[in-house]
């Protein structure tokens, strides 16, 4: 295998030759130059670099196509007429003339030998030429350091470095590469015969007679006998280029290499004698993303076996780091921590600050999600607690100019602050500082995580529209330049918001819009399926569809901590509690809440989760008919939510409090509380909470109506209760919550009866029955 030269490169040289001869007409100059530039350099002249997912791999495909077949040239040159004395000749004809002009191995040699004539002369050469009285070359000459000049010079150099048999190989490959054009060329060139690919054979034919064929077969091997096994000459240079591109794509977007491209690339690799070690890395990434644990391990080790000592640098720490990430991805968290710690020590030994900082960052984030595993570590190490680690990382990153790390450390601090319920403005400050770095350094890849943190903040503050907007902004502007994971997460959030508002179908549509190649990565598709399942579960819980709920829960609960992030796990758990409560399995629900509560307390987790658990507990107590026992719990939840500015949870807590007050008969107070809270709650998109508040309000009004002595007042309260019930019913039906809808209808009927409007009472009763029937039919 040659290092650099391939038949396709000869084609490019011929094209450059054609261009310098001035054979390219004006209208073709831009396409031709664009073609050359996109093959020689990494750029495109005509349009802005498109990074749409569909085009991401187009470049790789393009370069493979160029290596394998000559058709690209035909497509480019076919439409243009050449600047030529003979009219009607196409640029493609001229190009073919050049290629078929290389009609023997010696002609190939000459072709390369005269390449330097395309270059501009150096000062010395010019002086010598003027001394000798020669004319300086005119027309288009290539500057020595221009991209074309560099390419021409490199090709010339590489050719002169080839040993003879490689030259012969190149020649054979070139003959084969050119052969598809033989038919066309024969039409244009009647002298063309079957042996025209080598002029020596043509001239020798009259001398050798029928033995010519045999000689040709001896020289050209099986290529002539037609048992074409589609091998083509690939240079190490091409392979490396393609590999680097793949690695870059994988790193930047977290994609897997598309199937077709992979197949093409594999066939190229088969032709090349040497397989660069980087290809093992690509295989490793692919296996990793596809969830093939043993294979990815195998390839990782293979890759680092080949590169451990490359270029006088030790790569051991990187090998370890990759290993750790792999292990954690496959749920071997303990091993991952051990490996990462070794990475840290190795990196420290080798003074590889970059790796060290990265590893520490990773460890920190890992510790956030798996506190148990790193707890003992934190107690007896210099790292200290999360905050200190982050401060350390931030300082280090600033020192060594690792902007990505710096900004991510800042965001980590923001998250940490939010999780422990500290000042919102401090978190905001961190976000802003991080975003400043991102903008200053144009860290497009970091945009996803930055916006994710911002979304979280808005969500916590209950500003649903801001959070939705942020997600939209990300999806519209940054999705193409960031990792697919971020895109998926943003979409999930958006879908979550929609589901919160009861627009399940739209939420599912959002999910469906994500499809294709990126979903081939196992992590991503897992996440996608889980999130979709969660939303389905929410809908089915509301719809009271027990079978579906059981089915989904059985699946979702299987996903253990190995393959899920803790946030998602908590969501699944809380939905489980909800389902249990609704079904009246209070003991099981209580047990689960207790278990989760102890876990959370031990792990010092996000304050939001704790509040949620407290609220679930209060709800449970309410359901078993002893709401007053949940008073302290609710108060604590409210206090915590207030302090952490977790507004949606605060409103929920206030609702629970109102409920307790109602149970204690303090209806006026309850109503006042709810009325104060309701407008703020309406700002969020938690429709179910709003509906609950309305129903609580209705209860409070009803209570007050019962207490009211005067009938006018009573009427007024009943009217208010009716309105509240209407609103509650409306909101409950938005989230399709059947049970609550029925409850509202029943209450409505009661109110009507009390108001003496029997007809409407009947009406509500009929609607109630109808709804029940519908649900029964739907749930089978």
């Amino acid at each position: 295998m040659s290092r650099f030269l391939t038949p396709a490169k000869i084609g490019l040289l011929a094209l450059i030759d054609l261009y310098t001869e001035g054979a390219v007409p004006n209208e073709a100059i831009i396409p031709v130059l664009n073609f050359l530039a996109s093959r020689l350099l990494d750029c495109d002249l005509t349009d802005t670099p498109s990074v749409a997912p569909a085009n991401r791999w187009a470049k790789a495909e393009k370069s493979i196509r160029l290596i394998v077949s000559i058709q690209d040239f035909e497509q480019l040159l076919g439409p243009f007429a050449a600047v030529d004395r003979m009219p009607g000749r196409l640029l493609w004809d001229r190009f073919l003339e050049k290629l078929w002009g290389i009609d023997s191995l010696h002609a190939l040699q000459e072709f390369f030998e005269k390449q330097p004539h395309l270059l501009a002369k150096t000062k010395n050469e010019r002086r010598r030429m003027t001394e000798c009285g020669e004319d300086l070359p005119t027309g288009i000459v290539l500057s020595r350091s221009s991209p074309f000049g560099v390419f021409v010079r490199r090709s010339h150099l590489e050719f002169s470095r080839l040993p003879f048999h490689s030259t012969a190989e190149l020649w054979k490959a070139f003959v084969k590469y050119r052969q598809p054009t033989a038919n066309y060329w024969r039409k244009r060139n009647p002298h063309h015969s079957r042996l025209s690919f080598d002029s020596v054979l043509v001239t020798g034919e009259h001398e050798w007679g029928e033995n010519t064929e045999e000689l040709a077969v001896v020289a050209y091997g099986s290529m002539l006998l037609g048992d074409d096994d589609h091998t083509s000459l690939v240079s190490t240079d091409d392979i490396e280029c393609l590999l680097e591109m793949q690695v870059e794509q994988i790193h930047r977007y977290g994609d897997r290499v598309p199937k077709e491209l992979k197949a093409q690339f594999q066939s190229l690799l088969k032709d090349s004698h040497a397989i660069p070690s980087l290809s093992h890395y690509v295989s490793f990434c692919d296996a990793w993303r596809s969830g093939d644990y043993p294979t990815s391990f195998d390839y990782l080790h293979r890759y680092f076996d080949f590169t451990m000592q490359d270029r006088d640098r030790l790569f051991y720490q990187y090998a370890l780091m990759n290993l750790a990430m792999l292990q954690s991805d496959f749920g071997c968290h303990k091993e991952a921590v051990a490996t990462m710690l070794e990475t840290v020590s190795t990196a420290r030994e080798n003074r590889d600050n970059k790796c060290l900082n990265f590893a520490l960052n990773w460890l920190f984030h890992f510790g956030r999600t798996h506190p148990k595993l790193v707890r003992e570590l934190e107690n007896n190490s210099m790292l200290g607690s999360g905050k200190e680690t982050l401060a350390f990382l931030r300082a280090k990153a600033k020192e060594s100019g690792m902007w990505v790390l710096w900004s991510s450390a800042l965001m980590g601090e923001a998250k940490l602050g939010m999780a422990s319920g500290e000042s919102v403005s401090a978190a905001m400050e961190h976000i802003v500082r991080s975003s400043q770095i991102i903008l200053e350094r144009n860290l497009k890849a970091m945009m996803g995580s930055k916006l994710a943190v911002a979304t979280t903040l808005w969500d916590r503050l209950g500003l649903a529209y801001l959070s939705s907007m942020t997600c939209e902004v990300f999806l519209r502007c940054y999705a193409d330049t960031s990792v697919f994971d971020d895109k998926l997460k943003a979409t999930c959030r958006l879908a979550n918001h929609l589901a919160g508002r009861g627009r399940y179908e739209e939420a599912f549509e959002k999910f469906e819009s994500l499809s294709g190649n990126p979903l081939r990565a196992v992590k991503v598709s897992q996440h996608w399926h889980l999130y979709r399942g969660i939303i389905k579960l929410r809908r089915d819980i509301h719809r009271d569809n027990h079978d579906a709920v059981d089915h989904l829960l059985a699946q979702l609960l299987q996903a253990g901590p190995e393959c899920l992030e803790t946030d998602m796990l908590f969501i699944v758990d809380s939905l489980h509690i909800d389902a249990l409560t609704r079904r009246g399995a209070f003991d099981a629900a209580a047990a689960k809440i207790e278990r989760l509560a102890t876990e959370l307390r031990d792990d010092d987790r996000d304050v939001a989760m704790r509040i949620r658990l407290l609220l679930s507990k209060a709800h449970l107590l309410d359901r078993i008919g002893r709401p007053e026992r949940g008073f302290t719990i609710t108060m604590r939840a409210a206090r915590l939510a207030w302090r952490a500015r977790l507004l949606p949870l605060l409103w929920q807590a206030i609702g629970a409090l109102a409920n307790i007050l109602g149970a204690l008969g303090e209806f006026a107070a309850a109503a006042r509380l709810v009325v104060a809270v309701l407008p703020r709650c309406l700002e969020t998109d938690a429709v179910f909470v709003i509906a609950t508040l309305y129903s609580l309000l209705a209860d409070a009004w009803m209570g007050q109506a019962g207490e009211a002595a005067h009938s006018d007042r009573r009427e007024a309260f009943l009217g208010k209760a009716h309105e509240a019930l209407e609103a509650a019913f409306h909101h409950f039906s938005a989230v399709e919550d059947v049970e609550k809808q029925c409850e509202m209808l029943a209450k409505e009927a009661t109110v009507m009866k009390l108001m003496g409007d029997n007809v409407r009472a009947e009406e509500y009763a009929a609607r109630y029955l109808k709804l029940k029937k519908e649900v029964a039919i739907r749930n089978g």
């Binding site: 191995l105 003879f164 012969a168 020596v200 050798w208």
Partner: protein, 665 residues
């Protein structure tokens, strides 16, 4: 030379036997050669074999046990061991193969015994050495076949050892002085074996192979006359061993020697082939040789070996086009054959057929890129492209593959000359000469290199060597002459150069007698350079008349017309050294052949002729022949050579003429 059906059948059978016998003894190249020849015999129709019973019981004579009952019994007894040894040999485990029949202890005993005797001053000479000494162990009794195999394996192991011990080609330690350490053992053994045989009253008839082996060993020990003796014995006993014939060919360095031994050769077809081949190798030419080759080709019409000989014959006769065609035919007939394609590449090089040479190189490298021939072809191609470093690289590779590859050494020398690395060039030429002292190209190259270094005395010596090898090559004599001229020995120089002129004209006549492609009668054509050189030497010797004659002759070469012919005739008279028997046609492998071939009639104006003209003009001025001077000056001006000087000359001539006119008036 037609063959009857019976002759043909016997020939076929003999060759078949030869192939089997040579293969049995692991003489692969000889077996290959015989098989190739066998293949070249035209197939006769089946009914001609009616005399032979093609029954199931028929055993081909090649597979008969040995004719000698004694040997047959021995062979039968040791068949197992023989098969073992043969397979070891085939696997290139030479020492192991030898040890099957001849344990090391036996061989070392042989040597130490010898040393003791050599140390003993009272015993001297060969007779004493083979005398019945007390400590001498008897030689083991075994069949000749096994003995040959064992000893041959020993020699091969020694060769292998030698190759391994040798340093990198042209490396600091590579002095070419590594020797085959097993030769001594083998030669001692064989010496005793032959002595023992002589003592035996009724020795079983020899098969000839051991003689061949002994001859080979003696050649390696540079004991040429004894070697020739044994080799001759061998070919008498078994004429079908081509390896043996080749060894004899290598021993013969002059055609006289060939003629001397010819009567002592067995009279059969092999000797005929040998004679032709040797003659070709000695750069002989002539009708007889061509005829005999053609006769042989009549018997073996497609024999690649004979075709190669024919092509080489044409090549040596400087009939490059014919040689090229011959080789081309050969290539078409045997596309996978690499042997002697290096010669073909030389021819293509001289003819400057670049695409074809590239194709040939491609072909060779596709067949086997690790054959010395392939490497030489590729090296030649790169040399033609003036990529001398690469060429050297490939020649070195050829030499690494086979150190005795003569042409690679010489060609590498040429490349080093091009690279201006004179020391390396001298070394490679020297090594070439060491391999084969008949290689005049290497001698000539050595001379050239020393000339570049301006060590003329040395150069002269080497040129003389080359000229001695090629007495009828003008180029050699020209080199000698120029060298002498530079050393200031003008008289000798003139002699040498005249001889060069003669040689050239002789060669031209012989070439045209071959009458192939271009019948160029260049009898009238002489190298103006040489003529100018002669003239200037005469000038320095103050022999103005001779100088003038040669200057005119030189100038006459411009149009190569009648004047030249006259001059040549005159020259033929003046130099009477035409009494040597016609030697070989000159062939200086690479170089000028091509550009000279283009010259048909008249050289046109060259630097040499212009110089001659200038000299003549000045001479005319001195001789006060102003008209001539004026004319010559005008001609010089027309040719545009040294115009300034010529103009000055014209002015002066004119003024003198005017002066003369005025005086006349």
């Amino acid at each position: 030379m037609g063959l009857t059906a019976k002759d043909s059948f016997h020939l076929k059978e003999a060759l078949q036997i030869a192939v089997v016998k040579c293969s049995e003894r692991c003489l692969y190249q000889a077996a290959k050669w015989a098989a190739e020849l066998l293949d070249a015999l035209p197939e006769r129709s089946v009914d001609e074999f009616k005399g032979q019973p093609p029954t199931a019981t028929y055993v081909h004579p090649a597979f008969f046990p040995s004719a000698d009952p004694n040997e047959a019994a021995l062979e039968a007894r040791e068949l197992n061991r023989y098969l073992l040894a043969k397979s070891f040999f085939d696997c290139k485990e030479f020492d192991r193969c030898a040890a099957v029949f001849l344990p090391d202890s036996l061989l070392s005993g042989l040597i130490t015994a010898k040393f003791n005797e050599a140390a003993d001053p009272r015993r001297k000479g060969k007779a004493a050495a083979v005398g019945p000494s007390a400590q001498e162990q008897p030689l083991p009794e075994m069949s000749q076949k096994s003995l040959f195999l064992a000893l041959y394996a020993k020699v091969m192991s020694g060769e292998k050892q030698k190759d391994e011990d040798s340093e990198m080609i042209m490396g600091p330690q590579d002095l070419g002085s590594v020797v085959n350490k097993q030769l001594l053992t083998v030669s001692r053994f064989l010496e005793r074996w032959f002595a023992d045989r002589k003592k035996e009253s009724d020795p079983s008839p020899s098969q000839g192979f051991l003689e061949y082996l002994y001859g080979m060993v003696l050649v390696k020990e540079k004991n040429d006359s004894d070697a020739l003796n044994f080799l001759m014995q061998s070919v008498h006993l078994f004429p079908w061993n081509w390896g043996c014939w080749l060894e004899i060919t290598n021993l013969i360095s002059r055609v006289e020697q060939l003629n001397k031994i010819a009567p002592h050769m067995p009279q059969n077809i092999m000797s005929f082939i040998f004679h032709a081949n040797t003659a070709v190798n000695l750069y002989q030419q002539g009708q007889d040789l061509a005829a005999s080759l053609n006769d042989l080709l009549g018997i073996f019409p497609t024999s690649s070996f004979l075709l190669t000989c024919k092509a080489l014959l044409n090549y040596h006769a400087k009939d490059l086009m014919a040689a090229e065609q011959d080789f081309s035919q050969l290539l078409a007939l045997h596309p996978h054959r690499l042997d002697s394609l290096d010669h073909y590449s030389n021819i293509l090089y001289v003819l400057n057929l670049r695409p074809k040479l590239a194709f040939l190189a491609h072909l060779c490298s596709s067949i086997d890129k690790f054959r010395p021939e392939s490497c030489v072809v590729i090296g030649n191609y790169y040399s033609l492209l003036s990529l001398h470093e690469k060429a050297v690289q490939y020649f070195r590779r050829a030499l690494t593959l086979d150190r005795s590859c003569l042409s690679a050494w010489t060609l590498m020398g040429h490349e080093y000359v091009e690279l201006k690395n004179t020391h390396a060039a001298i070394e490679s030429y020297r090594r070439a000469v060491d391999v084969n002292r008949r290689d005049y190209r290497a001698w000539y190259g050595l001379g050239q290199t020393y000339e570049v270094l301006e060590m003329h005395a040395y150069a002269l010596w080497y040129y003389k060597k080359a000229a001695g090898l090629r007495p009828w090559d003008g180029k050699m004599w020209q080199a000698v002459g120029s060298c002498l001229q530079k050393m200031g020995r003008d008289r000798d120089g003139i002699k040498a150069l005249k001889r060069a002129l003669l040689a050239d004209s002789y060669y031209d006549s012989t070439a045209s007698s071959f009458g192939s492609t271009g019948p160029i009668d260049r009898m009238t054509q002489m190298d103006p350079e040489v003529l100018l050189q002669i003239a200037s030497m005469y000038d320095r010797l103050d022999d103005e008349d001779e100088a003038k004659a040669y200057m005119e002759l030189c100038m006459a070469q411009e149009d190569g017309g009648a004047a030249g012919a006259e001059g040549a005739a005159g020259l033929g008279d003046s130099v009477a050294i035409h009494n040597d028997s016609p030697g070989g046609g000159p062939s200086d492998g690479e170089g000028e052949g091509a550009d000279r071939a283009g010259v048909h009639e008249g050289t046109g104006v060259t630097v040499a002729t212009s110089k001659a003209r200038m000299w003549l003009a000045k001479y005319a001025m001195r001789a006060e022949d102003y008209h001539t001077a004026h004319r010559l000056g005008m001609e010089l001006c027309q040719d545009g050579v040294e115009v300034e000087e010529a103009k000055a000359l014209i002015r002066e001539a004119r003024s003198r003429l005017e002066l003369a006119n005025m005086l006349d008036r």
